[in-house]
């Protein structure tokens, strides 16, 4: 599925990723953990094509197709989805309008027909119910005046609606209380499937109690410093990131 090789990337001339190599096969969930400033968010922005993040070396492919030469919207149409650490407020645009516009833009890019209004509403109602989101909330401007937890839930709602193939969750647990965390995790787990893969970026082990990873990687100093099974997350929780910080 996703294959990253020797990736170097910089912002404003400052090198952040320094030769990162990572493979996430279809059907697997990989966690990326690491100290603050290690480049975790940079990785998510480089994979989604944010302006200002310049790749100076290396490759990233999705099912063999080069991602790095594509525009952000083209990557989205190919199924790359990022759940933002800080979701943006979109004044004046109801959540439903936003998602439907996005969905149809993706469909158009893939040469598919637009979704009809009844189909869309049916899907939205079912998805909202499964995530315990009040349908009325979806008629309000996206994320405007929403609490931190509501915003995160809206990210998962968008993810479920758009049904991407490769999911990146950037610090999805931050700002969530335990009940909200469970709902969000249930939503994410419902999307696990043999033809999807996920990259879960988190600072804390807590989220991984709910979204169980197949592999855990430590990102430090701009590259993968260590990889292991789920037990690595517990080890990090006990011992912290000190030894990696020193190594970097």
């Amino acid at each position: 599925m996703l294959s990253i090789s020797n990736l170097h990337a910089e912002i404003d001339g400052k090198l952040i990723l320094k030769g990162l190599t990572l493979d996430v096969p279809a059907g697997e969930v990989h966690a990326i953990m690491g100290p603050n400033g290690a480049g975790k968010s940079t990785l998510s922005y480089v994979l989604t094509g944010r302006q200002g993040y310049e790749v100076t070396e290396g490759t990233a492919t999705l099912d063999g197709e080069d991602l790095l030469s594509l525009d952000p919207s083209e990557r989205a149409a190919r199924g790359v989805f990022l759940s933002f650490q800080y979701p943006l407020e979109i004044p004046g645009v109801p959540a439903l309008t936003f998602i439907r516009t996005a969905m149809n833009a993706q469909r158009k890019a893939r040469g598919e027909a637009e979704i009809t209004a009844p189909e869309f509403l049916k899907l939205a109602r079912a998805t909202a119910a499964s995530l315990k989101i009040d349908f009325e909330m979806l008629k309000r401007a996206l994320n405007v005046g929403f609490s931190g937890g509501e915003k995160k839930r809206m990210e998962i709602f968008q993810m479920a609606m758009l049904s991407p193939r490769f999911l990146i969750l950037d610090e999805t647990d931050s700002g969530l209380d335990i009940d909200a965390l469970k709902i969000v995790a249930d939503g994410v787990n419902a999307m696990r499937s043999p033809d999807r893969a996920m990259l879960v970026i988190t600072h804390y082990q807590r989220l991984l109690d709910y979204i169980k990873p197949d592999r855990v990687h430590v990102l430090a100093g701009g590259r993968i410093a260590e990889s292991g099974g789920p037990e690595l997350a517990h080890e990090l929780e006990r011992e912290g990131y000190d030894k990696y910080a020193r190594a970097a």
Binding site: R50, G52, S73, A77, P91, I99, Q106
Partner: protein, 489 residues
């Protein structure tokens, strides 16, 4: 982002200004320049009665003694008023012809602009779709007015200003310049001297006008100005919704559009006046050409509980100087102003409103959305005043500015004058930049850069768009998108 850039360039070259074509027809011109002879020429061309000629000559004398206003935040070289034509009309017989007599080239022009002039075409539209009547003004004259018969049956007079002067002199004499005095300001005074045509509407007491009325202004001739005059009277307890649209060819020289619009609203009556202004904005790179849109629009809520609502979508013109205002004279009368002003390229806009509270318990509401992109400048200028008798007056003002890019400017200049202690004025203002974060967020969900800008901008202007009549709101939304194409990148 090469692909994005290419798309932007491509779309730009296609859509830059799609109304910029010229219609090649034979036209009658007055000699170039301005003098009492020209004023007489215009009046004679229109077979006007003596009192109208005197009105014009008086205005011309006063205009000579006036100076151009310089307080607006717009910059342009001094206009040579002798270097322009003040009358240009398609060659034809006098008086409004039936549609069959109108020059086919002119009909083709309106067809190209998407303006329905044939009633049967309007009727043949989607079943149940709202119909609207059109007065089509081509340079200095009204070429045709549709649905006149059906409107007449309801008692509504909808005709060109020239016709109103001939056919309804008592109404014109009573109301013309009663809201905007002849020497109100430099451009209004010039208009009074040389105005050519425009629309006249009278809605009798208790009548709800059976359809939307609209006027479509088209400047075609080179080196000519357009000076239209519109007068709308809503008699007691009546209602009318009116819309004007404007376009012009792309030309390298600037053209002056100095219109005057007067609205009179009597007891319990209501006028809803909407404008979609898309004059040629000039070349976005060099700033060459484009229309100078120097317009005076004012409504007088003369009766108790009278209501007026201005809605404007201003996307065109090199320079916009325009302050649709409300005089709230009648007790409990209501004035509203909803505005979207977009500037891109080298455009300059100085626009806003005046809410003048004279009567007790009068209310007003201002929602202004300014969007600046390119190297443009966009100023909101507004006045809210309450006079000593306007006890219980209320105003709410919301002024939002959106900046796209780093080379544009937005200014807000609100004036507030409360001359009694029992009025409540509220003012809210925000200035935001279209953020890279928001754009990226929308693009990550699958929208192209252009689509992302459109979606965010539409969200920003939504409060105003929803005030427009349904069928025009869709048009306006498209226009907003086109005006901002290529503004990010």
């Amino acid at each position: 982002m090469a692909a994005v850039k290419q798309t932007v360039d491509h779309v730009e070259s296609l859509e830059k200004y799609k109304h910029g074509f010229v219609t090649d027809i034979e036209q009658d011109f007055a000699p170039k320049g301005l003098s009492t002879d020209i004023v007489r020429f215009i009046s004679a061309k229109k077979n006007e009665p003596e009192w109208m000629l005197e009105y014009r000559l008086d205005a011309y004398e006063r205009w000579l003694a006036m100076d151009e206003p310089e307080w607006a935040k717009v910059y342009f070289p001094r206009i040579d008023y002798q270097d322009s034509y003040y009358y240009a009309a398609p060659k034809e017989k006098t008086g409004p012809a039936s549609l069959d007599e109108v020059d086919p080239d002119i009909l083709a022009t309106y067809a190209k602009l998407g303006i329905p002039l044939r009633e049967q075409e309007v009727l043949a539209g989607v079943k149940g779709a709202p119909r609207y009547a059109v007065d089509a003004v081509f340079d200095s004259v009204s070429v045709v007015t549709t649905f006149k018969k059906e409107l007449a049956e309801a008692g509504v007079i909808f005709c060109s200003m020239s016709e109103a002067i001939r056919e309804h002199p008592e109404l014109v004499k009573k109301y013309l310049s009663s809201v905007v005095p002849v020497s109100d300001n430099y451009y209004a005074c010039l208009n009074a001297a040389v105005f050519s045509d425009g629309s006249f509407v009278y809605v009798p007491p208790g009548v709800r006008c059976p359809m939307e009325l609209s006027t479509y202004f088209r400047i075609n001739a080179e080196n000519s100005g357009q000076f239209e005059r519109t007068l709308i009277i809503a008699d007691k307890g009546s209602y009318v919704s009116y819309l004007e649209g404007c376009t012009a060819p792309m030309r390298d020289e600037n053209q002056l559009h100095a219109a005057v619009v007067e609205l009179i609203i009597l007891d319990d009556a209501e006028i809803k006046y909407s404008t979609v202004q898309n004059w040629y904005p000039g070349d976005p790179e060099t700033g060459k050409g484009g229309i100078y849109n120097f317009v005076t629009k004012r409504a007088d809520c003369r009766g108790d509980r009278a209501k007026v609502s201005w809605t404007q979508v201003e996307t065109g013109s090199a320079i916009t100087w325009k302050y649709p205002s409300c005089i709230l004279r009648g007790e409990s009368s209501v004035g509203e102003f909803y505005s979207i002003a977009i500037t891109n390229g080298r455009q300059q806009a100085d626009t806003g409103t005046k809410m003048i509270h004279l009567g007790a318990n009068t209310r007003s509401r201002i929602i202004s959305k300014g969007i600046s992109a390119g190297r443009s400048s966009n100023t909101y200028r507004g006045l809210v005043s309450a006079h000593p008798k306007a006890k219980g007056a209320r105003n709410f003002t919301q002024c939002d500015s959106l900046l796209i890019g780093k080379t544009c400017a937005a200014h807000t200049v609100p004036y507030v004058e409360a001359r009694n202690s029992q009025c409540v004025f509220e003012h809210e203002a925000t200035t935001t930049k279209l953020s890279e974060d928001q754009l990226f967020y929308a693009m990550q969900r699958g929208l192209s850069q252009e689509e992302a800008v459109q979606l965010l901008v539409n969200g920003f202007v939504k409060d105003v768009l929803q005030e427009l009549p349904m069928e025009f709101a869709v048009e306006a939304q498209k226009l907003v998108a086109i005006s901002l194409e290529g503004s990010v990148g």
